[in-house]
Symmetry: C2
Subunit: 320 residues, 2 copies
Amino acid sequence: MKLKMVYSFLNADLNLIEETLEETVQGESPLLQQASLHLLQAGGKRIRPVFVLLSGKFGDYDIRVIKDVAVALELIHMASLVHDDVIDDADIRRGRPTIKNKWDNRFAMYSGDFIFAKSLELMSHIKNPLAHQILSKTIVELCIGEIEQIKDKYRFEQSLRDYLLRIKRKTALLIATSCQLGAIAAGVDEQVHRKLYRFGYYVGMSYQIIDDILDFTGTEEELGKPAGGDLLQGNITLPVLYAMEDERLRSEIVTVHEQMSQVEIARITDLVKQSGAIDKAFQISDRYLQKALTILEELPNNRSKKTLRDIARYIGKRKN
Amino acid sequence: MKLKMVYSFLNADLNLIEETLEETVQGESPLLQQASLHLLQAGGKRIRPVFVLLSGKFGDYDIRVIKDVAVALELIHMASLVHDDVIDDADIRRGRPTIKNKWDNRFAMYSGDFIFAKSLELMSHIKNPLAHQILSKTIVELCIGEIEQIKDKYRFEQSLRDYLLRIKRKTALLIATSCQLGAIAAGVDEQVHRKLYRFGYYVGMSYQIIDDILDFTGTEEELGKPAGGDLLQGNITLPVLYAMEDERLRSEIVTVHEQMSQVEIARITDLVKQSGAIDKAFQISDRYLQKALTILEELPNNRSKKTLRDIARYIGKRKN
């Protein structure tokens, strides 16, 4: 089953969000518009908008209000991808050339800025100051995370704690914020929107760990890029941290560098896969998932809650 | 007389803003903090905070509220400078090595993102949704301006209109917004904060034209960088546009390219200075300044109005 089937009852609203995403990047600059559309049309799971909408269903759901939050959160995610590509020297994202590759580095930077600015413009329609306070704090953390990620590259002696803090900033906080802002935009009680935030945080942690596992276990077709790419770029993820507990494997892994051949990196990727590291990483992901499901039980019963549960379970089994 | 003397009665509040600027960039990331402080300590005129404060004086001035707006606007300006440096391959800004030069391009990008995010965090203290709407629109325009600036580089056939639109986005809108948001944060009437916006816009246009003139007429000591730098980088400013009205001068100017020697660019800079282009540019700057002074007359009389008038007049005569 595809993830989209889980929330197919949102299709009409998700189509509206897709349209709004495209409309939003129609600027006065044809060059910018072209670049942004290029990224939009490359797709993506739109998982953040889905969380915004589902969380909004716990309150006074008005798609005209909540769609701005949903689109804004997706745009922030996209802007961070565009800037990430500048950092990672990534030439391929979701199977298509990146903006950076197609145009150039400096243009990519400003495209990211533009997409981000557009998200702020949408968010400015939301009157509740709490929404702005939460979002701005999250964005600050996101930026700190980006910098720390540069610092942590190829730093093989880093700890599990470094990794968890990094994925919190990189992924979990924005998903948590998506849940919370969707709820706030729908006037949900503080007690409930805080729980949705925690649900999003746990799901986000689990989601990113699975992402990091898939970078080892996925096929190029499933991932839209070659496997082992994270390690090649010096991103020390959970499977790598566990694999390095084996001294022999550690001595192989620390030899990884930017210019390593595809054959060499594939050999090391295989070694990591054959170790127990993947299983251990899955266990951590599952622990976060269980926490997400537990907090979900404390929320009022409705269709949305059931869907959030299905999504959380799906994430634990996903292949891309 | 120094510009600072004009608004010396704001000194206590400006010191507070300086402190808040430093406090704000104290993040969890030592690397980021170091980079941001580096930029902060390089100084700058803090002209945007000054406009925020002076505009706030038209209403219910509370430094505890208004300082967040003042600091936020200065941070946005700084973030754009940091990203500009990535674009311009600028190694020197205000006489000090740029962040990009000191660290690297990718780090500079994220430092800019971080500084910008911090400005949003401060702005989130401001409850009036109008402030957020105005600011976000300005930031979108700022980003479009940055992209257009790349496109317009070394494009010698551009029009006066292209230039004016570019400096509007690059400088005038943020100064206009500083005036307007300072007023809004102090609860000023719509009629007044709109006029302050227009005042800021005209002053900003004039300010940037003077800046572009000084790039030709200033000494390296006054500018903190060699003269003629804009032209060398392909930025076609107002003096250049006027100089190109002379066919012989035009044929010299269109030969300018990135790798041109300092001696060659100095020779062309001198040709521009000896033409009537500088005077013509001054006339346009002055026209904007007069519009600024005219709109100012429509505002209630107070000390702040007098100071805004003095600043506007100072700008027309400034040397750096």
